[in-house]
């Protein structure tokens, strides 16, 4: 395996970006990520992006956004209809092939024009489930009830996760939910989808991110402290909610083992855990001990940009390690209802 590192990152997350199109708000991020390492688009061996037509409300929506990269002359490029974490994975595979040394990866999404809670119902089995329009929060609420009844976690522990996310987010300029709230205050909130309260659900945001990857010595040339992807893997669970244990994340468990999470000490983890319950399940599935700081950025409870939230976890971990606030981190991205699909990576400073 080649050594592949993240060498630069730029992000923007806001509650609602209403006056700019995806292309308009992505161009400055793309520029920022490239300028940080002194590269132009033509220096990129490969480019890959992640987004969703369903969020953009337009078929082939990524065809507009590619113009933001400046693809003249033509570029070697691809796109995943997934979170940008999977675009990063495709770029990582391309770099592993050995014929390119640099890659540019970006992702974005705007949830504000619609109701993400309802839009995500269109991800469900189209014949038996989607026609019932089960909204995303209600599905998570059912899973949360199972989790509480399993005795693996208590309502108070979920409130503690929510409270800690807000505390961590207070130092994150990109967080959209960062006002402090005590555990008691959270427990006093009215339910959104019983047993989930407003503080248990993701803080929806619009935005995106851009990132440069590089291999081996090329990465060392481009920045002082490359952040190496030491292991990366992704897996998917059954889509049928009744066919899997919703209090566990089997696919995250496999991905963590394949990515080598348990092989060495972990300083912190950036988990794409949209709900407090997701964090509780993931912490156990990934085998993260009490000594591991979870979501120092505040995580998706503080800012959740659909289609970029997993990718941004890589970026948050990169920035933290690059500035020396930790040496080894676990990064996670998810897709589908109740943690159906999961990617796990281990990042490490030079």
């Amino acid at each position: 395996m080649r050594e592949i590192a993240i060498v630069s990152f730029a992000q923007r997350q806001e509650p609602a970006i209403t006056s700019e199109s995806e292309v308009e708000f992505m161009v400055p991020l793309m520029q920022q990520a490239k300028e940080a390492v002194g590269l132009r688009q033509q220096d990129m061996g490969f480019t890959c992006s992640g987004s969703s037509d369903f969020l953009a409300g337009q078929a082939f929506s990524f065809v507009m956004t590619i113009d933001g990269t400046g693809p003249v002359p033509p570029i070697s490029e691809s796109h995943v209809e997934q979170d940008g974490a999977w675009a990063l994975y495709e770029a990582w595979v391309k770099l592993q092939c050995g014929d390119v040394d640099t890659a540019f990866v970006y992702s974005y999404g705007k949830s504000s024009p619609g109701s993400l809670r309802d839009v995500l119902a269109t991800q469900m089995d189209p014949y038996y489930v989607a026609p019932l329009w089960p909204d995303a929060f209600s599905i998570e609420g059912l899973a949360a009830r199972m989790l509480l009844e399993s005795g693996k976690v208590s309502e108070r522990q979920l409130a503690e996760i929510a409270s800690r996310s807000r505390e961590h987010a207070s130092s994150n300029p990109h967080a959209v939910r960062n006002t402090p709230k005590s555990v008691e205050e959270i427990l006093a909130e009215e339910f959104v989808a019983d047993p989930l309260r407003p503080s248990d659900i993701p803080a929806s945001a619009d935005g995106g991110c851009a990132m440069v990857l590089a291999a081996g010595d090329r990465a060392r040339e481009l920045c002082d402290r490359p952040v190496w992807i030491r292991g990366i893997d992704h897996r998917i669970d059954s889509h049928t909610l009744g066919a899997r244990d919703l209090t566990d994340a089997m696919s995250a468990r496999i991905a963590a083992e394949k990515a080598g999470v348990g092989r060495d000490k972990i300083d912190f983890a950036e988990l794409h855990a949209p709900f407090t319950t997701s964090e509780a399940v993931l912490t156990e599935a990934l085998g993260l001990g009490d000594d591991v700081t979870i979501n120092p950025s505040g995580g998706p409870l503080a800012a959740h940009t659909m289609m970029a939230a997993g990718h941004i976890r890589f970026g948050e971990a990169f920035e933290r390690i690059a500035r020396g606030d930790g040496d080894r981190a676990v990064v996670h991205a998810t897709a589908g209802p109740v943690l159906q699909q999961n990617m796990v990576a281990v990042l490490e400073g030079e």
Partner: protein, 386 residues
């Protein structure tokens, strides 16, 4: 570090049709996947990862359908990825799957592309109003027809070249049991007399709208060598994208097309393209794109591609560079799958497994796909020899 040599050991297709009402989306994909597994002599246990492609989710109204399809594709507990690069997606998906093996990240990968257009309304899906952009609402034919007119003006091609391509591909389709259109009684005159839709494109010069899926099994060198059956070795893969509009853009032969072709032919070590390639599966949704792509891909000099159509060079019977022996996109267009079908048909040709549409002695073949405003390209070259 050299890339792992990668082999295609299984190809599976569904029967393409305007409505496959007999199967769900999951059933459609399973049909193609099982056929690919059967040809490869493998089971789901042999598959390390799945790479899936299709065109816009609005075509079926299911957001990120790989989530729903996880079980149908036997990938519970395995990795699955979803590629989407507009019309070129089927080709890009195969290339991404190839990179999974070439990088040695996985040993055996199932790649699959599909569209089940009958479950929604593609015209509606392509016409959603946008707050920031003006919709052309002209359909793909309306977009491409001025470019074809430009080609005709530049090359002085005779008016009926497009009809010749369409008639040839519909004849070729009769030999392909999977093809959507089997027009046994179609005559050349009927093509010429069919209604003009977007001048110069007549009704019979356009692709149908199909349901269908295409799957392939890709594996590493050791497994390719050990495989007890036909093998297609991947000699080169390339993808290129460019902006849809910029000053000086050549719409007839886009720079992305030419660079993608140069890359893939160089990887395969091919110098005389026309001589060394035995069959081409080319993305031709509108008839005039055959002569246009023949030039853009370097099989003919600029302005001369139409002569290959006229003299029969691209016909399976008697042609030296048979193009679209499967009937092509003009005979089956399950959009998201169309690119992968081109790649898979190229593989079948070099495996000697193309049945009645087989080109005698085919050893090296090109699979080609394009998308967007002719701005996304994906190509691969496969050969019977390693």
């Amino acid at each position: 570090m050299s890339k792992e040599r990668t082999a295609v050991v299984g190809v599976g297709q569904t029967k393409y049709a305007s409505t496959r009402g007999d199967v769900s989306m999951a059933g459609l994909l399973r049909e193609a996947a099982y056929r690919a597994l059967e040809m490869a002599g493998m089971t789901w246990d042999d598959i390390d990862a799945v790479v899936m492609g299709k065109a816009p989710d609005f075509f079926e109204g299911v957001m990120m359908p790989e989530i729903y399809l996880a079980e149908a594709l036997g990938c519970v507990g395995k990795p699955i990825m979803r590629v989407h690069t507009a019309g070129s997606v089927g080709g890009s998906t195969a290339n991404v799957a190839a990179s999974m093996v070439q990088s040695r990240v996985h040993e055996t990968v199932l790649t699959i592309a599909w569209e089940k257009q009958s479950e929604s309304n593609a015209m509606w899906a392509l016409s959603l109003p946008q707050p920031f952009t003006t919709s052309v609402n002209a359909g793909a034919g309306g977009y491409f027809s001025p470019i074809m007119r430009r080609y005709m003006a530049m090359s002085n091609a005779p008016e009926l070249i497009g009809c010749m391509v369409a008639f040839k591909d519909r004849q070729h389709a009769l030999a392909n049991p999977y093809a959507h259109l089997h027009q046994h009684d179609l005559t050349f005159d009927q093509v010429v007399e069919s209604p003009m839709l977007w001048d110069p494109i007549r009704y019979s010069e356009t692709c149908p709208s199909s349901d269908g899926a295409c799957a392939m099994i890709l594996t590493d060198e050791a497994r390719g060598d050990a495989h007890d059956g036909p093998v297609a070795w991947i000699k080169g893969t390339a993808m290129r994208s460019e902006s849809n509009s910029y000053g000086g853009r050549n719409m007839v032969s886009p720079a992305a097309s030419e660079e993608c072709a140069n890359d893939v032919f160089a990887q395969a070590g091919i110098h005389d393209r026309r001589k060394e390639i035995d069959a081409v599966e080319m993305y031709v949704p509108f008839s005039w794109y055959e002569p246009m792509w023949l030039e853009s891909l370097g099989f003919a000099e600029k302005g001369e591609g139409w002569r290959m159509v006229e003299d029969g060079s691209t016909a399976r019977e008697g042609g030296d560079l048979p193009v679209n022996c499967s009937g092509g996109v003009l005979s089956s267009n399950a959009i998201g799958a169309s690119g992968m079908i081109r790649f898979a048909e190229a593989a079948l040709q070099v495996m000697g497994q193309a049945g009645d549409r087989q080109v005698d002695g085919c050893r090296t073949a090109l699979g080609h796909a394009y998308g967007g405003g002719a701005q996304y390209f994906a190509m691969w070259i496969v050969a019977s020899d390693k």
